[in-house]
């Protein structure tokens, strides 16, 4: 009895979405202009990341990420998640960024979905573009 109700409900939903599909733009279609806009949005966030990376005000002691990591070098984003031997477990890149914020920068960690964290991850990864993914590598 219960199964029948669910099945007929599902059929109704599928029917509704099919009728909407024919009436509006198709979700899998996008234009060159769309791609340019999205790339622009991404590069804007990369630029925000670069400016945070070189900003002595991110922590409390004036030290900037770029002081030890020019062009975000030696951050190895392609190796995360990995077993971070000093922490003793598998972590992601943002967790390592937070370690740096707390220690060399003597600052506060960011929420993992903080737009500043997103921007820094975008910058670090962009500087490493073209390098193959090697999660877990040391």
């Amino acid at each position: 009895m219960k199964k029948e109700i669910i099945a007929s409900g599902l059929a109704a939903v599928v029917g509704l979405s099919l009728s909407l599909w024919t009436a509006t733009a198709r979700a899998d279609e996008f234009t060159k202009q769309d791609v340019e806009r999205w790339t622009g949005q991404f590069m804007g966030v990369v630029a925000q990341g670069r400016s945070l990376w070189t900003d002595g005000k991110l922590g409390t002691n004036g030290v900037a990420c770029a002081q030890c990591h020019p062009n975000a070098a030696n951050t190895h984003p392609e190796t995360y998640p990995k077993f971070q031997k000093q922490i003793g477990k598998v972590i992601t890149l943002p967790e390592m960024i937070n370690w740096c914020l707390r220690n060399p920068l003597e600052g506060q960690p960011l929420a993992l979905d903080d737009p500043k964290m997103t921007a820094m991850v975008a910058y670090v990864t962009y500087e490493r573009r073209g390098v193959k993914l090697e999660p877990g590598k040391h």
Partner: protein
Amino acid sequence: MSSNYSRRSFLRTAGTVAAVGALPVTWVELAFAKPEDNFTFAYISDSHIQHIRGNKFVNNWDRGLIRAVAETNLISPKPDFVMFGGDLAQLGTKAELDHGAGMLSKLNGKLRCVMGEHDYYLDLGEYWSKLFGPQYYSFDHKGVHFVVLNSILTTEEWTHNRWPTAEQRMLEMAGLDNPNGSPFMVGEKQREWLAKDLSGIAKDTPIVVFSHSPIQKIFKAWNFWTDDAEQVQALLQPFSQVNVVYGHVHQIQYNQIGNLSFNSVMATAWPWPYPQTYAQAESMLPKLTIPMNRADPFFERDATGWQLIDVNTGRVSLNYNLYSNRPRTVAFDPKLGHPVDKQFQTEAALEPNQVQY
């Protein structure tokens, strides 16, 4: 609590003494003078003393310089003099230079200094010169001719006409990877001075040049570079034993170009990645160089250190005292005709943490 603290601080001091005692000092007899003229000098560089506000400075960088000074003072037999290789300050302020000079004043023995870009671009070296003297000079010591160059100069236009304030000029040059920076150069005036300085020196006299930037071209994007390097090298090539010792790069590098041996020194502040780790630009890191270990950021002094140097063979032999790491020695090999790492020169000896990527 207090007895616990003093026990711990005693252990720390004892550990430091043991580490210094273990330095692999080479006792090669002098090849060009009387054996009793054997001497060493210490080389400390790139401390980047950074002012926060009031009387606060970045503790991490302070500790690096304090440790280098303390360990240098423990060396026996005593080094004949101590060189400081530039970038004492981070942003060239009086507060930073004074704080750094205060720490250097604890050194026993004669100190000589090299100008770095972080010391220079706020007031074009004015306050630094008040503290440490001329920006380029030479001296003779026990048969060796030493030359100190200010290699971090750049164009007149960039220096005098590009930036609205001195503070901005300093900040633009302080960012290693900042595309608004400008390539370093020794410049015509100093090259003329150098030619004159070398004109009275016998061609077989060992020569040691100290500069902040490498007088060779390695990686332009981070100014591991001197724009008129070839012209300076040409002045030095007629001499049979020339050594160029440079800072700025915060890592072990070495190279040989004709008669010229090149050796870099470590920073006391922080290590820099090797240029080949930046995936978006080509680097010309000398093929001879066996890299140091990848730094472990969880040990804040790792991949920093200072050097004890001798010139006993007429070429420099650098004993790297690497904090939180095994010491290394890079010395000229007369058979091969270039500097080698005493332990790691063959590829087979490379350890996993020496692979830089």
